[in-house]
Amino acid sequence: MASAEIDSISQSEKHSVSPTYESVKQNNRDLVSDIKVIKRKLNGYVGFANLPKQWHRKSVRRGFNLNIMVAGESGLGKKTLINTLFDKELLGPDADAEPEEQPDEHTVRTKVHTADVDEDGVKLQLTVITTPGFGDSLNNTDSWKPIVDEINRRFDSHLEAESKITRATITDNRIHALLYFIEPTGHSLRALDIATMKQVHEKVNLIPIIAKSDTLTEEEIMDFKRRILDDIEYQGIKTFKPQEYENEDEDFISNTKSIMSRMPFATVGSLKEVRTPDGRIVRGRAYPWGVIEVDNEEHCDFIMLRQLLIRNFMEELKEHTANVLYENYRTKKLLNMGIEQDNSVFKEFDPLARQEEEKALHEAKLSKMEAEMKAVFQQKVSEKEKKLQRSEADLFARHKEMKDKLTKQIKLLEEKKQQLEKQKSLPQDPPAPAPTKSRKGFLR
């Protein structure tokens, strides 16, 4: 026998429902049924364990996509960092500049840049959404609004696309991560930073970044990071954290730990290659006092950021966006639209229950049929009865009328006859003229 039976249990299927909808959960209890599930671990090779490999293949064939948004004041090196992340000149230096005319400086806009990146045959369709103008005006109240609007708009259009009748291909245009650039002031988060983060942290995977960290000393960075993390915690802002799963290998777990220990990521971006004093060619920035290397973990957190964003967790960012952030947005939106949750549809198929259900449906149909037929029957019967009763009554009435009439006539004639006979026996008596006349008139 190639299989080892561990246990075969009867599992009670629970319908877990969001805690926000307690009332809904109550009704749901009735639907809980005992359904038998066989649980086994196979020792032989059946082959379904190949499915993850099939997905691997398929994902290469279908390609990947990622939509990231970058927010932060101008001059913080946002575009350079994106270019450095993908090691490619994706965004030109004036990618955001409007041709000639300076648009209203006080408005924040969003701009979309797309690029196809290919690394050893794995294709990534990259979309970068920039927010030129963010934090640049004197009054930055509501300057986070275009960012929130853009995230919502993309959720809305996804919701619309998935609700369409035909939806053969839905492209995922939802924003999978927001890189939020913090100015390297060395103090702490500013009001605008906090306001913006609070507006978006439940809608997008938020990744805070300390821009141009080469302006801060190692110690200053440590302090700055600590203060930022304090602020984030105090304000209850959620930043992206990869979930921990069982069976993860130890190297991966410790790597994840070291990545997350660097949050918020102090980065330096540069596509320029420079020569270090010891003769290496590196991506970095050369200063009279030394070379800061982008790809050196001791100089900045660039590598950690890239591992988080691309190599280790890009698919997790997307999963979290689709399964948690988008789902929450959608649930709220639909409930606000007045669409009610119907938990009766979340039930296991159960032949017995179905038979019962069909029986109930059948009985309902049957009794409806019976009621209808009975109603029609009774109506018809009573109509007919009434009709017959009426004709019966008519018959009697007419008969009575005729009979009365005839009886009266007969009576009159009989009286007349008697009178005439009387007259005959007493001829000397003159007839009484008046009554006879009137009677004659009556009889015509």
Partner: protein, 390 residues
């Protein structure tokens, strides 16, 4: 040398997510009983998932006057190499067993549609993280190894199934046919499938990948798969045991490609094309159903086309739910009959009543006539008296 960007690692991330989350796979087996469906399932998954139907029960089923076709579902969680799947086996035990098999496909087709509908309704809810998914990813249709061709019932059922599910025809108990007979049988079946425009599931040929394309081609050429199932092992050479069936003239080995197509079918179902089955169910069959359901009445109206002798290529779904217990129909008929009889009784009563009225009228008329004649007599008498007076 700076580290690579890491895009090449994305497929590995996907791999990890799938490995962690597992998957759901629902396999339906259809076909007459006695074709080894249960044995095949147990052979495929190398474990006893399905118990064979109790022989006594089989008798009661056959003997009962109104055999209902119960859909039987075995739910399991199987783990292989740390990968878990929720495997559902959907069996249709009584299929084709009654003398009159007309409409015996109805419960199967309805089951598939109902699962799509149920999934759709769940998907529409505001909160939907706990969807129950019994959408059928593949339907194995077991063909009796007659050596002749497909029966009209097979064609009818397969045509309907192929419009809403990944249909994989299988020649059952292939060890009853010689290789030559099998080849001929297969090619006849393929001809019928083509002529009837039955869409069976075929793996896609990925021409840019020679090895995979070659494998897919071999799978396509072997269709319909001839299978032999066996849960028993036999010794073929000292110390070496294989799954198979032992006859006095030799052992049929399940996993021997020269003996049957079991390995190819397993590859198609699990090892190479399981994901294709899952995705085409999701992206084609489910979406087709959903679009129809949401799209309103343009099509549907089952049977309308077929009555005109025309075979529709689009699935014809049902708007209203169909009830499957033949007893229900009987009860309805009984009710109708009861009322018809009541109506008859009442009509009889009314007729009697009408007759009574007519009789009564006659009687009364006679009465009146008598009075009238009496009147006339009187009139005449009076006249006479008057004349004689003058």
């Amino acid at each position: 040398m700076p580290e690579a960007v890491g895009i090449t690692n994305l497929p590995n991330q996907r791999y990890k997510i799938i490995l962690r989350e597992g998957s759901t796979f629902t396999l339906m087996v259809a076909g007459e009983s006695g074709l080894g469906k249960t044995t095949f399932i147990n052979t495929l998954f190398q474990t006893t998932l399905k118990q064979h139907a109790d022989v006594n029960e089989r008798h009661t089923r056959l003997a009962s006057t109104s055999p209902t076709m119960d859909i039987d579902i075995v739910r399991s969680i199987l783990e292989e190499k740390n990968f878990k799947i929720n495997l559902n086996i959907v069996d249709t035990p009584g299929f084709g067993n009654s003398v009159n098999n007309h409409d015996s496909w109805v419960p199967i087709v309805d089951f598939i549609d109902e699962q799509h509908e149920s999934y759709m309704k769940q998907e529409q809810q505001p909160y939907r993280n706990t969807k129950k998914d019994l959408r059928v990813h593949a339907c194995l249709y077991f063909i009796r190894p007659t050596g002749h061709s497909l029966k009209p019932l097979d064609i009818e059922v397969m045509r309907r199934l192929s419009m809403r599910v990944n249909l994989i025809p299988v020649i059952a108990k292939a060890d009853t046919l010689s290789p030559k007979e099998l080849d001929a049988f297969k090619s006849r079946i393929r001809d019928v499938i083509e002529a009837q425009e039955i869409n069976i599931f075929t793996p896609t040929l990925e021409l840019d990948d020679a090895a995979s394309a070659e494998h897919a081609k071999q799978l396509i050429e072997s269709m319909p798969f001839a299978v032999v199932g066996s849960e028993e092992e036999h010794e073929v050479s000292p110390g070496q045991y294989v799954k198979g069936r032992k006859y006095p003239w030799g052992i049929v080995e399940v996993e021997n490609e020269k003996h049957c197509d079991f390995k190819k079918l397993r590859s198609l179902l699990l090892r190479t094309n399981m994901l294709d089955l899952i995705l085409s169910t999701q992206e084609l069959h489910y979406e087709t159903f959903r679009a129809w359901k949401l799209g309103g009445d343009e099509e549907g109206n089952e049977g309308a086309n077929e009555e005109n002798g025309e075979i529709s290529k689009k699935p014809s779904y049902r708007k209203t739910r169909r009830l499957h217990n033949p007893k229900f129909k009987e009860e309805e008929d009984a009710l109708k009959k009861f009322f018809t009889e009541q109506v008859k009784a009442e009509e009889q009563r009314f007729r009697q009543w009408e007759t009574n009225i007519v009789n009564e009228r006659n009687r009364l008329n006679q009465d009146l006539e008598e009075m009238q004649s009496k009147l006339k007599t009187l009139e005449e008498q009076v006249k006479k008296l008057q004349v004689s007076k003058r």
